[in-house]
């Protein structure tokens, strides 16, 4: 029983850590498939966390989730206005959005709550227990006794898989990412498609941020996104730009982090930072083609027109 209990708590922790990554990375998958790499995703996550906190305090946890999504979407919209509409360099613009978001969320937070040392207490999103499934030993609590954001992540995987690879809109979106010129010649509004994809990614990253503040921790702290947006970009790479792959990769990243916490509790001498580095190393290996070639969309990070 002890083993099952340990496994179960490990899984709960791994899933909890993976879910924000799944959400943000699924959004980013759509954005990158449309040819836009948004390094400002980290900014959307932290705005999502803050928006979630403010929304939840004002009108309850579900309003918080909506506010978080909206805040993340706004940050992405700012990025898109520059990187898509003005056609500025995606990397530089994304960096600016991230730096600025970390700064301004801190500024908003401090002006709203002051620089107290006290942790903020937020109303959290309750878990929904799925009948029967949640009783499965070890797996049940981890996968089927969770907040709505987790189920949203589940639902999005097949939906996005269908959207990207089976639907007409997915075909259009991928064409924009692979070859914006060809897409344009086919009558596809390239800039508008990219705008929408980026904003969708921002909404998802916002939900991921709100999950951090309203599900995972129940509080908000400056810089609490802690690189989750950047990790999501690595997750997209390791997941080879497909929703299924992204989920697997996110669970892997989440698992590595959960393992690190578990090991830390057991034995402080284990080199747990190496576990945290492992997913990144594997992402690099994936790009290098160690387990099959991961090809980024051809038009990724390229401005358009030209």
């Amino acid at each position: 029983m002890g083993d099952i209990g340990a496994l179960s708590s490990f899984l709960v922790s791994a899933v909890g850590l993976a879910v924000p990554l799944v959400l943000a990375a699924l959004g980013e998958t759509v954005s990158e498939r449309a040819g836009v790499i948004n390094i400002g995703l980290e900014g959307s996550v932290i705005w999502g966390a803050l928006g979630g906190a403010l929304g939840a305090l004002a009108a309850g946890p579900y309003a918080g989730l909506a506010a978080g999504a909206l805040a993340g979407g706004m940050a992405a919209l700012l990025f898109a206005v520059f990187a898509v509409w003005l056609n500025t360099n995606q990397i530089i613009t994304g960096t600016a959005v991230t730096i600025g978001s970390l700064g301004f969320t801190g500024a908003v937070f401090q002006s709203r709550f002051g620089v107290t040392g006290l942790a903020l207490e937020l109303p959290t999103v309750p878990a929904w227990e799925v009948p029967l499934l949640s009783r499965i030993p070890a797996l049940g609590p981890a996968f089927f006794d969770q907040a709505v954001t987790v189920y949203l992540a589940y639902a999005l995987v097949p939906v996005l898989g269908w959207f990207l690879f089976r639907s007409r809109w997915g075909l259009v979106l991928r064409a924009v990412g692979e070859s914006p010129d060809a897409a344009h010649a086919s009558g596809v509004p390239v800039a508008r498609t990219r705008m929408l994809a980026v904003v969708f990614a921002g909404l998802m990253a916002g939900v991921a941020g709100a999950h951090l503040s309203l599900v995972h921790t129940g509080t908000f702290a400056e810089n609490m996104s802690a690189g989750k947006g950047f990790i999501a970009i690595a997750v997209v790479v390791l997941g080879r730009w497909s929703p299924k792959g992204v989920v697997a990769a996110a669970l892997f990243f989440g698992g590595a982090e959960a393992l690190q916490f578990a090991l830390q509790a057991v034995d402080a001498d284990l080199p747990y930072p190496l576990f945290l580095a492992l997913p990144y190393v594997l992402s690099l290996a994936a790009l290098a083609g160690w387990f099959g070639r991961a090809r980024a969309p051809e038009g990724l990070a390229l401005p358009w027109p030209r």
């Binding site: 089976r166 075909l171 344009h184 010649a185 086919s186 009558g187 509004p189």
Partner: protein, 571 residues
């Protein structure tokens, strides 16, 4: 969509005007440049309408206006009898207008089917779902049009002809009243051109009006029912193809005097020369070691020679046992349809590529005017001096110790600008701000500065207007004949006029082989036959679509000499 309104809500085709499409007094400007000025044009259902003009005449602009890719500044566009305001290719598409671009607009990693589906999004899906039987419809349509297409492989792995067929099929999947083809033959081998025209005739028979943009007279005359000529953005004439001669069209395209000059400048005729004294440019050239070695020698030996050169590319031989030699002061013309190994030959000659077999004896430095001047010949964001420094930055004359001698380079560039008669729009001109002709003059002058021994010119006038073409050709001729130690020149071109005008000796490149052309076969017809693969049947020859070949009387027998070496001197 804002275009379908009022009485034109339902597109009836031709009930009001009987025309598939019509432009009325259309003007389109790009900044201060007027690309189209008050041009009117109509397209009858079921006709193939050739649209002729030199590069820059406005024919592509016209096609793009019709295709919804450009919005005219003035004038009206009518499709199927209704005035429309096309804001995008999608708008045009909805009205039955399809465009096949010069540079294919296929997504490389998508399959043929996916590409076709992308272009025909609405037809492919119902509420976003893949419609059942779509593939079958595509295949059926391909059979109808007698188009052989590969639907399942990513198009990035297909040849140009195969990609073009997908492009055409994709355009014709839905009901199409207007089909626009922008220079569709530019990328095709001659045989594929015939196949394309057969398809187009089939399509036209079904009632689609086809606009065929081209700049080759013979092709247009072979395929079109009517012809419209544009010049410098203005309309010149529209005629039945049957009632107009190639000469009339040529004159209409180039506007008389200029074209006459081009036609007269054949090999042996009077060559334009550049009068110049001994200049800083010469000094600089003389200072290079390669030039020094040869000063004062009479030099009977070739300045460059290839013996049995073979190169392998992607597992296939790109060059096969090529023998060639060129002497100082002579121009060796190498004719051929694009893609027969010319690119590889240029790379070998320029010393970028070493042969896998055989010997290449080449000067230490070789000038190379690459085909793609915008992407390879120049850096668009660099100024003229910086682009000159590109070729010269390794030479001692451009350095002071470890430093670049910018003052010297700028002096050289200024000299080049004067010598080559480069017209820069402003004093701080970057390459991007120069016209195509002036860009090419910069490249030509620079490559001559790089090497006074061997100059490789690869399609040096492609895409230039008539005047720039005359200027660049005369510069190349002048360089090859100038001074005591002129360079040897290898002129690689698909343009027979150019080859015949400039070359002392001619060879033809076919599938990696270099076939010499004897002097008595220096005419378009014989060389044209060699370019097509040397195995032309008389019956194909009789209705030969190469218009100018009709003028000559030689039969095909005399035109296929044995695989003799192109080396040695002129006969």
């Amino acid at each position: 969509m804002s275009t379908r309104n009022g009485p034109c809500e339902r597109r009836g085709g031709s009930e009001s005007s009987g025309l598939a499409a019509r432009l009325r007094d259309v003007t389109k400007r790009f900044g201060p440049v007027t690309a189209l000025e008050g041009v009117s044009f109509d397209l009858v259902p079921g006709e193939i309408h050739g649209l002729l003009g030199e590069n820059g005449a406005g024919k592509t602009t016209l096609a793009r206006v019709l295709g919804g890719l450009l919005t005219p500044d003035e004038g009206r566009v009518e499709i199927g009898g209704c005035e429309v305001a096309l804001r995008s290719a999608r708008d045009a598409r909805a009205l039955g207008v399809a465009m096949v671009h010069q540079h294919f607009s296929l997504v490389p990693r998508f399959s043929g089917l996916e590409n076709i589906a992308l272009f025909n999004g609405g037809a492919w899906t119902k509420r976003g779902m893949a419609a059942p039987g779509y593939r079958e419809r595509v295949e059926a349509r391909a059979r109808e049009l007698k188009l052989e297409v590969e639907l399942d492989l990513p198009v990035e792995g297909l040849g140009v002809g195969a990609r073009q067929r997908i492009e055409i099929l994709k355009a014709l999947m839905s009901e199409t009243s207007v089909l626009l083809l922008d220079e569709p033959t530019a990328v095709l081998a001659p045989r594929e051109v015939d196949g394309l025209f057969a398809v187009l005739k089939e399509v036209a028979r079904a009632g689609t009006g086809i606009v065929l943009v081209a700049h080759k007279l013979d092709e247009v005359l072979a395929a079109a029912d009517r012809v419209t000529v544009l010049r410098r953005g203005g309309w010149v004439l529209t005629r039945e193809a049957a009632s107009v001669s190639a000469g009339e069209l040529a004159e209409a395209m180039v506007g008389g005097a200029v074209g006459g000059h081009l036609a007269r400048g054949a090999a042996g005729g009077q060559r334009p020369t550049v009068d110049r004294g001994r200049t800083a440019m010469d000094e600089r050239r003389a200072a290079t070691p390669a030039a020094d070695q040869l000063v004062g020698t009479a030099d009977p030996a070739p300045v460059a020679s290839l013996r049995g050169v073979t190169t392998i590319r992607d597992g296939e031989p790109a060059l096969r046992h090529v023998n060639a030699a060129v002497k100082r002061g002579e121009i060796l013309g190498i004719a051929g349809v694009d893609g027969n190994g010319q690119r590889e030959l240029a790379r070998v000659l320029a010393r970028i590529r070493t042969p896998d077999e055989g010997d290449a004896t080449l000067p230490a430095e070789v000038g190379w005017i690459p085909q793609d001047r915008a992407e390879e010949g120049l850096v668009n964001g660099f100024t003229i001096s910086e682009n000159v420094a590109f070729a010269l930055h390794g030479k001692d004359s451009c350095r002071k110790g470890p430093w670049l001698d910018w003052a010297g380079i700028e002096e050289t560039a200024a000299e080049l600008v004067r010598e080559m008669d480069v017209r820069a729009t402003s004093s701080t001109a970057t390459a991007a701000n120069l016209s195509g002709g002036n860009q090419q003059k910069v490249v030509t002058g620079r490559e001559f500065l790089r090497s006074a021994d061997l100059l490789v010119a690869e399609s040096p006038t492609r895409g230039l207007d008539v005047k720039a073409t005359v200027a660049v050709r005369s510069r190349i001729a002048a360089l090859a004949r100038h001074g005591d130690h002129p360079p040897g020149v290898v002129l690689i071109s698909a343009d027979l006029d150019e080859i015949l005008e400039l070359s002392d000796r001619i060879a033809v490149m076919v599938r990696g082989r270099l076939i010499p052309v004897p002097r008595d076969a220096h005419n378009p017809r014989d060389i044209g036959e060699l370019m097509l693969g040397a195995r032309v049947r008389p019956d194909e020859n009789a209705d030969g679509h190469a218009g100018e070949t009709r003028n000559t009387v030689r039969g095909p027998e005399g035109s296929t000499p044995g695989a003799r070496s192109a080396g040695g001197g002129p006969p």
